[in-house]
């Protein structure tokens, strides 16, 4: 594995005195795809939000490409350009066309020219099969299409790390696949990704490493085949059992 992109050391996060993440450490190398699974409320999304400082942290440190994220709020816009984040609810800007949604940040933040940004946006849209929707508005798109646009909007910033926060959880079942295919494609291109998902089959297919999070800490981690076929901890076994119905019919 290549150089280190993300290092989290002894992260401590609490909401109003209630501990959500406790002494959590984790490193991610360039090109690595780590998938975080775990019961709801275990702090998966909070962990992602801490990584690009959408949440303040109460202890520990997070390094992105060697730079500490929570050190200086003035450097945040600079650092956040290196982290792409895709949300469960897409969060496209409803008052802008698809093309403007994608080119807004490159033009405003990176001061790229309109022609340059639009050319790359169209290439990226082409790759996710949405080049013909460039002039449309978000409300004219289906959930799966919106989510693919949201991914493109992050990609155009050339981030070193991509965060995906349950990006298929709000989608109808038949649209889940089209979004997951995009993620699989990104993994194949060697992108560094941290993915939170409830799609276990997908997690198994895309991950280099599975992180099982429970009660604010990483309870178990390993290669997908090991984790899904032979979970070591009792908590992971119990979690994985909730996805099968074998024990229901006896």
């Amino acid at each position: 594995m290549g150089r280190e992109i993300l290092r989290i050391e002894h992260l401590h996060k609490e909401f109003e005195g209630k501990t959500v993440l406790d002494d959590l450490s984790l490193t991610l190398a360039e090109g690595e795809v780590a998938v975080i699974v775990g019961p709801s409320g275990c702090g998966k999304s909070t962990l992602l939000r801490c990584v690009n400082a959408l949440e303040p942290i109460q202890g520990g440190s997070i390094f992105l490409d060697g730079a500490e994220i929570h050190a200086d709020p003035r450097k945040l816009p600079q650092l956040r350009q290196k982290v792409g984040m895709v949300f469960q609810s897409y969060e496209l800007f409803p008052h802008k066309s698809i093309l403007d949604n994608i080119t807004l940040a490159p033009r405003k933040v990176q001061k790229r020219s309109r022609e340059d940004a639009e050319a790359e946006a169209l290439t990226l849209l082409e790759r996710v099969g949405l080049a013909d929707r460039a002039k449309d508005y978000p409300r004219q798109l289906s959930g799966g299409q919106k989510q693919r646009v949201a991914i493109v909007r992050s990609l155009i910033m050339h981030p070193a790390l991509m965060l995906f926060d349950e990006v298929t959880a709000a989608l109808d079942p038949e649209m889940v696949r089209e979004v997951l295919d995009v993620l699989l494609d990104l993994a194949k291109q060697g992108r560094t990704m941290l993915i939170v998902t409830h799609e276990m089959q997908f997690a198994r297919a895309v991950a280099d490493r599975i992180l099982f999070l429970d009660d604010g800490g990483i309870v178990e981690e390993g290669r997908p085949a090991d984790f899904f076929d032979h979970p070591k901890t009792e908590r992971a076994q119990r979690f994985l059992n909730t996805f099968t119905f074998e024990t229901v019919k006896e």
């Binding site: 959408l54 945040l76 816009p77 350009q81 984040m85 609810s89 969060e91 800007f93 807004l104 910033m157």
Partner: protein, 219 residues
């Protein structure tokens, strides 16, 4: 009602109406700016400044324009600051309107889900960039009816300008009644001229509102 009287008064009312429109629009434009800045301070929860802004909003909204004008017109010269009646009128209207505009902008901005701001920030935008390109344009659509109501309300409030010797519509009507006792004609023209100023604003406002609602459908 005497048609000749109406005709002879017309030029005076026209001139007065121009003054009302000029000072009114200038004051409203300033109120817009003040409101926008104040709303941004409140939305970003900037310490200390937000307390100042809150105090200003309460002060401006809970005192009558007439009293504010008296303060500017009679008070400032006592402090050695020279003003003109026009400057008093405009700044009084801006002071009053700023508070109302601030609240209209703020409620619009707060109606936009915070995750929209987070999504803009996560793309590397600064707070100012996120505010101006993502939050404000959306908030404007939400705030538009309230802003429009403020514009109409402020335009009508200009009728107290006469108290600081500005020769606006109200002043002209009172003056003419005092001079010639043609009360019916004077008041009739007063109503007509206020309607002429305000009706177009109302109509254009609701037209834009309808278009915005159409454009925003299914956000």
């Amino acid at each position: 009602m005497n048609a000749d009287v109406l005709r002879s008064y017309l030029p005076l009312y026209k001139e007065a109406a121009m003054l009302t429109i000029r000072l009114g629009l200038l004051g409203i434009a300033l109120a817009f700016l003040i409101g926008l800045v104040c709303a941004a301070v409140l939305y970003c929860k900037i310490p200390v400044l937000r307390t100042v802004v809150r105090a200003y909003i309460e002060l401006s909204r809970n005192t009558p324009l007439l009293i504010q004008l008296f303060f500017l017109y009679y008070g400032l010269p006592k402090l050695g600051i020279r003003t003109t009646p026009e400057a008093c009128g405009v700044s009084g209207l801006a002071f009053l309107g700023g508070g109302y505009m601030a609240e209209a902008f703020r409620s619009g901005m707060e109606a936009i889900a915070p995750i929209q701001l987070e999504s803009a920030l996560s793309l590397g935008m600064t707070r100012t960039q996120a505010l101006s390109s993502v939050i404000l344009p959306q908030a404007l659509t939400v705030s538009f009816p309230a802003l429009m109501a403020n514009v109409i309300f402020l335009m009508k409030e200009t009728s107290v300008f006469s108290a600081v010797s500005l020769m606006d519509l109200m002043f002209t009507a009172k003056d003419l009644i005092g001079l010639y006792y043609n009360t019916t004609e004077s008041l009739f023209l007063l109503v007509v001229f206020y309607l002429l100023i305000l009706l177009p604003i109302s109509l254009v406002g609701s037209l834009i509102e309808r278009r915005l609602r159409y454009a925003g459908a299914g956000l």
